[in-house]
């Protein structure tokens, strides 16, 4: 019988012509002394001739580093360069604020389609859109859970259409509609009550009324000439009190906020520190 091809192979041959494409493992074409399999009792794993384990496993003999380099050199002509002006994430964000995420699936099976491939996710930072104060608050209320306050990003995930391009168009349509609706002011928006407000505003609130009431009564009991409301509002102590109350309501109760509130109340009511 003829000797295997491996005996005629030189050390410096061109391997990419022996295995140009993905092929099964041929023991007579691969000049390596490979052994694979469960070893016989008090022996070694079986040799490569007639070894099913070596044929079963996918091999990468057609993708050696020189072969990869040759392929990439031929493919390099078809690639384009990334614009050098956009080297950091912040610059990308500044010039191209909208991010669209799509997923592709590759797998072996009876069909190449995957129903999860039609999902499209749109992400925008609201600071990049042209919105004024009222429009921004209305948009956040309309959108609800899809807005993340920490990163100021609006995420819209669409998968109600059967094709990816349709989902993308629907996502852009939703964004357009939200933007335009938030700029409109409806008649019933003027009935916005204190519970609807996103942040605490001190003017025209119970806290302001109570503080002014108390101060007026203190001044009346001391028989000082009646001071007007505007003067009281403009005074230092009331401003301090106002800032500390706003901080407490908006940011929550921290050590700093509570001590600030304590100081401002003491100054307002002229109480000296207890001995």
């Amino acid at each position: 019988h003829a000797p295997p091809r491996t005996e005629k192979m030189t050390v410096d041959q061109d391997w990419s012509s022996v295995y140009p494409t993905a092929a099964a493992f041929k023991p007579a074409s691969v000049p390596l002394p490979i052994r694979m399999g469960y070893p016989v009792k008090r022996g070694v794993p079986p040799p490569k001739e007639g070894n099913l384990e070596l044929i079963k496993i996918p091999n990468f003999l057609h993708l050696t580093p020189p072969a990869i380099k040759k392929h990439c050199a031929a493919l390099k002509d078809f690639c384009t360069e990334w614009p050098s002006a956009l080297d950091s994430d912040e610059k990308c964000e500044q010039h191209f604020p909208i991010e669209i995420e799509t997923v592709d699936y590759v797998s072996a099976g009876t069909s190449i389609r995957n129903p999860k491939a039609r999902v499209v996710t749109l992400r925008v930072k609201l600071s990049n859109l042209n919105l004024d104060d009222h429009a921004k608050k209305k948009l956040i209320k309309l959108v609800g859970e899809r807005y993340c306050k920490d990163t100021d990003t609006l995420t819209i995930t669409t998968d109600r259409c059967p094709l990816r391009r349709q989902n993308y168009d629907y996502g852009i349509h939703l964004l357009t509609v939200l933007y335009h609706e938030s700029w409109k002011t409806e008649m019933w928006e003027s009935e916005k009550t204190e519970e609807d407000m996103e942040e605490y505003i001190w003017e025209n609130s119970c806290s302001q009324k109570n503080a002014l009431d108390t101060l007026l009564r203190i001044k009346a009991s001391e028989n000082v000439s009646t001071v007007t409301k505007e003067e009281l509002l403009a005074s230092e102590v009331v401003k301090n009190y106002r800032n500390s109350v706003i901080a407490l309501k908006n940011e929550g109760e921290t050590e700093n906020n509570m001590s600030q509130y304590k100081e401002s109340v003491k100054k307002l009511l002229n109480i000296q520190a207890l001995p």
Partner: protein
């Protein structure tokens, strides 16, 4: 010696760039991909390791910056079935399916580079290995969102709203 000098000087006209007849250049602007995330799943870790070496080398050769390569932990799905066709409930047999993962994240690709790289890498995907590709495309804000439309429309819209 003069012969040598002439031959050295004759390399000037081979410096013209060889235009590849298969390359076609179109005018439309390229879509940009901020990040391309490849998740490869397989049953055999050795196959995935070799594939990782191949994918990373291919990306480096084509000039694509690799952000990071990480391997999420494997997931094992176990089943317990009856060993016999009929009765013998106390004797069962257990099977498990191990899925290994490997995630490759690439940064800053143009659409043609991404198409080339993905086609190359997907054609050489070994048997029994699956891949998910997540593309993050970046775009400018479309023109109809730059300014609210209400400022430019005429006053006729009020009667339409009432009706």
């Amino acid at each position: 010696n003069l012969m040598g000098v002439q031959l050295a000087g004759s390399h000037v006209h081979t410096q013209e760039p060889k235009t590849n007849p298969l390359v076609s250049i179109s005018d439309e602007p390229e879509t940009l991909y901020k990040r391309l995330s490849l998740l490869v799943k397989g049953h055999d870790k050795a196959v995935l390791d070799s594939y990782e070496y191949f994918a990373v080398l291919a990306a480096k050769e084509l000039g694509i910056s690799v952000e990071k390569v990480h391997k999420p932990p494997k997931k094992i799905e176990r089943l317990t079935l009856l060993k016999s066709v009929h009765i013998y409930k106390k004797h069962r047999v257990q099977y498990e399916m191990r899925t290994h993962y490997m995630c490759l994240e690439l940064k800053h690709l143009t659409s043609s580079t991404a198409a080339v790289y993905l086609e190359y890498v997907q054609r050489n995907l070994p048997e029994g290995v699956a891949m998910e590709v997540k593309k993050t495309k970046i775009e400018k804000i479309p023109e109809h969102i730059q300014e609210p439309v209400w400022d430019t429309l005429p006053q006729i819209e009020e009667t339409e709203v009432k009706s």
